[in-house]
């Protein structure tokens, strides 16, 4: 009888122990990011809530190397996490998905920006360069079946030109005038497609983002009513203090929610 003993632990696909070396599912996650270009630069909004998945159960199939993970939902574990950070002089990075992977990405970018500054030669990394670097990193990890479980939004201004782009965990990368991650893609982007204009003022931009964030607050169960809006212009980055949106719960349908559901329990 012959059997193969996995000597090197690196066969990420076939080997049980190797699974602990690569990301299979996210544990601590942030929800949507919504970002738009406006007259002077880019605005990016995120809420400050972060969920933690609870009790994963994992079982292997009998003959086939077949795993399935069951989780018992998640808890709103952290309510004060900043998911939008300034990168260098010209960029803003927002992330949804696994927070630890976001922190890892921030470490990579920190090193990148440091080396860029060390050249001290009048050249600096702009948002386009950072976006492409991140695309390379994300795609590379995807190819090794060990993704950084994030969807990243990269916005910035350099030499008067605004830039806004997105990279997903599988390396899909593109630029647009407005981007969103996760649920934002389904709930916020239709609003933005209708109402976004190139010459939005700061106030109008914020109103537009708040409209999107309000819909997300009502309909995305992982969103909380505590958000931050970050702004980047040629002058630099400003991140607002956390604040809440006004909500309205007095709709008729909410008053007697079980009216149409006469049942035995």
């Amino acid at each position: 009888m012959t059997f193969t003993i996995p000597i090197d632990n690196g066969d990420a696909l076939k080997n049980a122990e190797a699974d602990s070396q690569r990301t299979l599912y996210p544990y601590v996650t942030g929800t949507s990011i919504v970002a738009i270009k406006y007259k002077d630069g880019v605005l990016m909004a995120s809420d400050m809530g972060v969920l933690m998945a609870s009790s994963l159960c994992k079982f292997k199939g009998f003959m086939v190397d077949n795993e399935c993970a069951g989780s018992y939902g998640s808890t709103l574990r952290y309510k004060n996490i900043e998911r939008v950070k300034a990168i260098g002089k010209h960029s803003l990075l927002g992330a949804s998905g696994e927070i630890s992977d976001f922190q890892e990405i921030l470490r990579y970018l920190d090193e990148l920006v440091l080396n860029d500054n060390m050249w001290d030669d009048g050249n600096s990394l702009g948002p386009k360069e950072v976006h492409n670097y991140l695309t390379r990193v994300m795609y590379n990890r995807r190819n090794k079946f060990n993704p950084l479980w994030n969807t990243l939004v990269l916005g910035g201004v350099k030499n008067g030109e605004s830039y806004l782009g997105m990279v997903s965990m599988i390396g899909v990368s593109f630029e647009d005038n407005h981007v969103a991650t996760g649920f934002g893609n389904h709930l916020a982007r239709p609003i933005l497609r209708d109402e976004w204009r190139a010459d939005l003022s700061f106030e109008d931009g914020v109103k537009l983002l708040e409209k999107c964030m309000r819909v997300l607050l009502y309909r995305d169960r992982s969103a909380i009513n505590k958000l931050q809006i970050a702004k980047i212009t040629e002058e630099g980055v400003t991140v607002s203090q956390p604040y809440s949106l006004k909500t309205f719960w007095e709709f008729q349908a909410f008053h007697n929610p079980t009216a149409g559901a006469q049942g035995s329990w």
Binding site: D121, G122, N123, E129, N132, Y133
Partner: protein, 270 residues
């Protein structure tokens, strides 16, 4: 320079603090045929003299495109120059791939210089025997650098390297203050005139020189023979100005004495 007891190894210092092998490598650059670079605020022109081994062979390529925004002209051991051009192309394309934006010239030049320095500090290597005039464009404008076998690099408004480059340098020294504001056409004309200085009396023809340009909105490319000939015609047929006329005569006299040295150029140096 004369032979001495400290010149066998690149890793041996002389008592006066010199590395002779590195200096000998710089001599090799002086043996190659001339290469010239000049820059304005928005353009860089690289030009070289075409020298062929014999009438039967084609001339050696001395100017290489590294990227749309960077070109390099070499003088000295062309084989070393070819290898370094390949390195530069590789660095440039890797940067473009990762960052989707052109590699700043200053950073390329530092990497080249560091590579050259390594060869001055290893006993099993020899310094590169080629000088490189790197011209390029980045965020901060047009730049011209000279990379030396010693691992040093300098930025220039205009420079000439290779044999009889002193004549070209003298010409450029007279005019360099106006280069920053020069138009593209004037810059090309000055480059060809500087090439003419190195020919010392030989009639300037477009087949004798190679000229390349790069600038804002103009990727690196070579000028074709017709365009070069047109520029030559604008000044070759016109009686020269007083001061140029006087100097041309003096140089023609010197050329008769200096011309014989050509046959001593080693075949690997162009």
């Amino acid at each position: 320079m004369f032979r001495n007891q400290y010149d066998t190894d690149v890793t041996t210092w002389s008592p006066t603090g010199r590395l002779f092998q590195v200096e000998y490598a710089m001599e090799a650059v002086k043996q190659g045929s001339a290469a010239i670079g000049l820059r304005s605020r928005s353009h860089v022109v690289l030009a070289s003299v075409n020298k062929a081994q014999s009438e039967l062979s084609s001339h050696q390529r001395k100017i290489f495109k590294v990227d749309d925004h960077i070109g390099v002209a070499i003088a000295g051991l062309t084989a070393d120059g070819r290898v370094l051009s390949r390195y530069m192309r590789s660095e440039s394309i890797n940067h473009s791939f990762t960052y989707e934006s052109p590699l700043p010239v200053g950073r390329l030049v530092v990497r080249l210089a560091d590579k050259a320095q390594v060869c001055t500090q290893r006993s099993w290597k020899r310094p590169y025997g080629v000088g490189l005039l790197v011209g390029g464009l980045d965020e901060s404008g047009a730049h011209l650098y000279y990379n030396c076998p010693s691992g040093n690099y300098f930025e220039y408004q205009a420079f000439a390297i290779g044999s009889r480059s002193q004549a070209a340098k003298t010409y450029l020294e007279r005019r360099f203050e106006s280069f920053n504001e020069s138009s593209r056409e004037d810059l090309i004309k000055d480059a060809i005139l500087a090439i003419r200085e190195t020919l010392q009396g030989e009639t300037l023809k477009s087949s004798l020189c190679t000229v390349s340009v790069l600038g804002v909105d103009e990727p690196f490319h070579f000028l074709d023979q017709d365009s070069i000939q047109k520029v030559i015609d604008t000044f070759e047929n016109v009686p020269e100005e007083e001061e140029d006329g006087g100097e041309a005569e003096a140089e023609a006299a010197a050329a008769e004495q200096g011309g014989a040295g050509d046959q001593d150029v080693a075949p690997m140096e162009m």
